[in-house]
Amino acid sequence: MNQAEVIAKLQTIFDNLFLEPVVLTPAISAKDVPEWDSLTHISLMVAVEKSFGVRFRVGEVENTKNIGEFADLILKRQLEP
């Protein structure tokens, strides 16, 4: 999997979760999407961990600045056994 493929998969999760369509790009972040509040964020993280089969380490998600960095983090955690 590469970053683009991860973002494509993230897109389907976002499509499920958000009422108004959001088009994901590597540069997009929570502040660009009005519906992306802290509650939606929690659902989103649970859904991502579930569907990618990853577990993020403490504090690392909030260090990602946008969807691109978040996708990279998913890739990094996916490589772990």
């Binding site: 509650l39 929690i42 659902s43 649970v46 579930k50 993020f56 403490v58």
Partner: protein, 622 residues
């Protein structure tokens, strides 16, 4: 209906959105699914889509505690709205509950809450001294923890008169101290259990306990915690437990508003026993210790009997011929429930909905206090449709799960403390004094007396045949001859006038032991040969041996015999009864490798006293 279809309903402003939201919420267990459903619900409100039924007035609920209460509040709000007890929330700040409660001018009190829910911080429920400190020291610290919580609750009650609920404390799930954790009160494990117990026992009537320790235990200790969620956002527990916690609080709020159910209406065939009594007959139904299924049905009956003891009224509603349906209640030895336990017994061919409807005026209770239990989906459906006020429980396919299903229905949970309970207290007290007396008993005779044992001695009966045969075939230790017999052979003995056969059932104040001893005697001239004498080892040395012998002598005399002939046939397992006949006053007459024979002259025999009340004898109509 799935989530995307629900979303479409919302986008189209379709009013069917609400019913499907309800259904999906009932099915959903996962945290993220529930949060998603909750966010859809809020978006529907924001779009001014109103639910079909006007919402009841919202209860003002304040949530305070030593944790981030977000997103717990979201789940709580969702569950409460879905169960038609909507809430208006006020959220305390993270770990600010003590000052929110103690400050007379806090926003908490300005909110005028009707319900206050408090989650005290578990990190304050620890013993900070040494593990080896004397117990009194640790106990005093635990008591202070309890007292400070009770003080917070007292303050809230004084200021608001609200219903107050506090969580107790989750127990640790890591090995940490090893087995030592339960050898000291200073470990978190022991300390929190002590605090939880003391808190529950000391809580005044206005304080409810949300039993977090129990909920976490039910889910599983490791699954209940999530350290990452604590460090990242001060969550009290794992998201899975957060869901359960929110459900529990919603359940408590509902229980403030809704009276518990009062009547349990029971189906019979495949509910109270296995099989169909009208087809299989009294002897053919599965009930009691002869089969695993029979045991499961009996256990279900015992659970139902315990509900009756709590004050639940029991009723029967069965599609049956009345006499057939009543027969097990009157004649089956393993029926726990008896006719007198049932306040209304409807066994006929009318629809069950009509039968249940007729019970309401009979018992002078509303239909909404009825719960109907059946294994047949069609019967459940007819009741659901025609008397919707009645709550129904469709039993699953496995009777071993019936008890769990009924217990988890949460329909018969007792209220906190009622005036009635308070009145009963003095009665309990004298009970407790009596029990303390009994537990101090040291001599055996007084102990046996305190057991209040009752024995029923019965000749072999057709309905007992499976039990007799089973015990005859599995009993090894207290078994003088170890002669095995099939059901047909037991039946043959029963009908042969040269044989006597009887069994003993024993119960005491702790419960019913069931059928525990069997004797078969064969008359040969003026001698009664003891073909079989066996007993369950559970009741050894309680006097059963003695009453069995008394009965044997009585029956031998009745059959005009002069003596008893007892035989011991050794096996690898029945060593314990090698000298049994000798101890009972028989004389050894013959001894070899293969057997020992003993004789008892009836003329010289005196009945042996025992601390067992005999409620019936064999071959005497009871």
């Amino acid at each position: 209906m799935d989530f995307s279809e629900l979303k479409t309903l919302l986008l189209n402003g379709d009013p069917r959105f609400w019913e499907h939201l309800l259904a999906l919420t009932r099915q959903a267990a996962a945290f993220d699914e529930l949060l998603f459903l909750s966010s859809l619900r809020k978006k529907a409100h924001a779009r001014k889509m109103s639910p079909p039924v006007a919402a009841p007035i919202k209860t003002r609920l304040a949530l305070v505690g030593g944790y981030s209460l977000y997103p717990l509040h979201e789940l709580l709000e969702h569950f409460c709205e879905i169960q038609s007890t909507p809430i208006e929330l006020w959220l305390g700040d993270y770990d600010n509950y003590i000052s929110e409660v103690m400050d007379d001018d806090s926003e908490l009190y300005a909110f005028k809450p009707q319900v206050v829910f408090m989650l005290p911080a578990e990190r304050r429920c620890v013993y900070t001294g040494k593990l080896t400190d004397p117990r009194e020291l640790v106990q005093a610290e635990a008591q202070r923890t309890v007292d400070s919580l009770l003080e917070l609750a007292r303050k809230v009650n004084e200021k608001t008169g609200a219903e107050i609920t506090t969580t107790n404390f989750m127990l640790p799930a890591r090995h940490d101290l090893g087995a030592f954790r339960s050898r000291t009160l200073g470990s978190d494990w022991a300390f929190r259990q002590w605090v939880n117990l003391e808190l529950g026992l000391a809580a005044p009537a206005y304080l409810h306990i949300c039993d977090w320790a129990f909920i976490a235990n039910r889910l599983g200790g490791l699954a209940a915690r999530d350290e990452r969620a604590w460090f990242e956002s001060k969550q009290p527990c794992s998201s899975a437990l957060l869901v359960e916690l929110a459900r529990e609080v919603a359940h408590l709020i509902l229980s403030f508003k809704r009276a518990p159910k009062k009547v349990l209406v029971l189906d019979l065939d495949n509910t109270l026993w296995g099989g169909v009594v009208a087809d299989d007959g009294l002897e053919g139904i599965e009930l009691g210790d002869t089969s695993p299924r029979g045991e499961a049905f009996k256990a279900f009956q015992k659970y139902i009997a315990s509900l009756k003891q709590r004050g639940v009224l029991l009723a029967v509603c069965s599609k049956n011929d009345f006499a057939k349906a009543a027969e097990p209640f009157e004649k089956h030895p393993d029926m726990v429930l008896k006719m007198e336990d049932i306040v209304s017994f409807k066994a006929n061919w009318e629809p069950k909905s009509e039968n249940i409807r007729a019970m309401a005026p009979e018992l002078n209770l509303g239909l909404d206090s009825f719960v109907f239990v059946d294994d047949n989906p069609a019967e459940i459906e007819i009741v659901r449709q025609f008397v919707p006020a009645v709550t129904t429980i469709l039993l699953g396919p496995d009777p071993s799960e019936y008890v769990g299903q009924l217990a988890d229905s949460r329909l018969f949970e007792p209220r906190n403390i009622t005036a009635e309970d308070a009145e009963r207290t003095s009665q309990y007290r004298s009970d407790a004094q009596r029990k303390a007396l009994e537990s101090s008993v040291t001599d055996m005779g007084a102990y046996l007396e305190s057991l209040q044992m009752e024995a029923g001695i019965s000749e072999f009966t057709p309905v007992d045949v499976p039990r007799l045969s089973q015990l005859i075939n599995k009993s090894n230790q207290f078994n003088l001859t170890t002669r095995r017999r099939s059901e047909a052979e037991v039946t043959a003995v029963m009908h042969d006038p040269n044989f006597i056969g009887y069994s003993v059932r024993l119960k005491d104040r702790f419960g019913d032991h069931g059928l525990i001893s069997i004797v078969i005697g064969e008359k040969a001239g003026d001698t009664m040969k003891i073909d079989t004498w066996l007993m369950s080892c559970r009741v050894l040395k309680r006097g059963v041996e003695e009453i069995v012998l008394n009965e044997l002598v009585r029956l031998a005399k009745w059959k005009n015999c002069q003596s008893l002939l007892g035989t011991y046939l050794p096996t690898p397992k029945n060593e314990m009864v090698r000298d049994f006949y000798g101890k009972m006053g028989f004389t050894l007459t013959n001894e070899s490798e293969e057997k020992k024979e003993f004789e008892l002259r009836l003329k010289i025999f005196q009945p042996i006293p025992a601390k067992i009340k005999i409620v019936r004898h064999a071959y005497e109509s009871s």
